[in-house]
């Protein structure tokens, strides 16, 4: 049984997750730059997800092999985001629905 371990109690983790959720909701109403809000929200979400994985899913107390398997999607997900970067750079300007559905000039 992997449950026999010393560490913070489940209720401690619960209160951390609760507090971080409240901070997350508060952050979106803060009068700061949108990019700073985005960085803060993503950092808070990663912190919460890590707490769930490490303590509720017992990853902190498992073998290293299992930890490496579990972290694989994070690497592949990050890679996926970077793969999309050249596409974003190739877009000269953002488009709206009105532009997308407008018929091209010269077409009947």
């Amino acid at each position: 049984m992997a449950g026999t371990h010393a560490g913070p109690s489940y209720m401690t983790i619960f209160w951390w997750l609760f507090a971080l959720t409240i901070i997350e909701v508060g952050v979106i109403f803060m009068p700061i730059a949108k990019v700073v809000i985005a960085i803060l929200l993503i950092s808070l979400a990663i912190s919460k997800a890590s707490l769930v994985a490490m303590y509720f899913m017992h990853l902190r107390f498992e073998r290293l092999t299992l930890g490496l398997i579990a972290i694989t999607p994070l690497f592949l997900g990050t890679l996926l985001v970077f793969i999309l970067v050249p596409d974003h750079a190739a877009i000269p300007h953002r488009t709206s629905d009105a532009v997308k559905i407008a018929p091209a000039a010269g077409h009947k």
């Binding site: 959720t21 997350e24 899913m57 299992l66 996926l80 999309l84 953002r94 709206s96 629905d97």
Partner: protein, 205 residues
Amino acid sequence: MSQVATMHPGVEPAESPLTPESWGKLGMWIFLVGDAMGFGTLLAGYGAMRYGSADWPNPYEHLGISLTAFMTFLLICSSVTMVKALEAIKLERPGHVKLFLSLTILGGATFLALQAYEWTHLIQGGLKIYGNPWGASLFGTTFFIITGFHGAHVTGGVIYLSTILAVVSKSRNTARNYLLTEIAGLYWHFVDLVWIMVFTFIYLL
């Protein structure tokens, strides 16, 4: 190292440093890794579409944060009751096991009911899978596909946990009950973990 390998030196050892404590648990982790890639792809696609759109609506102005913040709280609570059920098996308290597993199932079912309420409310307000009154039509498409995919996982989790509750209630084999509940718990916590990401990317950002 297995006894078979010690007794018969010519036999290839069946265990290695990579042999897991439980094959069932390893199987669930591998499934979750694949599932995480599915959610990751959906969220990356959402990001790409949103970045390329000039008229993407501001999510928290139209989707409503208070209800979904409560739904997040509900899933966190259900994760706590899940680990409490596991702890109760270890302490051999069958009454507590049933109570905590039932509370976890109730948390999941309430989450689904609130999601149905939210979807109904938003559809009546004009948010459709093919369009909406506020801007880019893909706003509704991505919202329903991603939250719907997660909702399907919660539905699967509620059915899975109900089955585990029925099995654990009948069996007195503590070690087996612990393993079955631990594996089901991994799935349930994953559903909670994914919601943390969905809540941030779809509702807050």
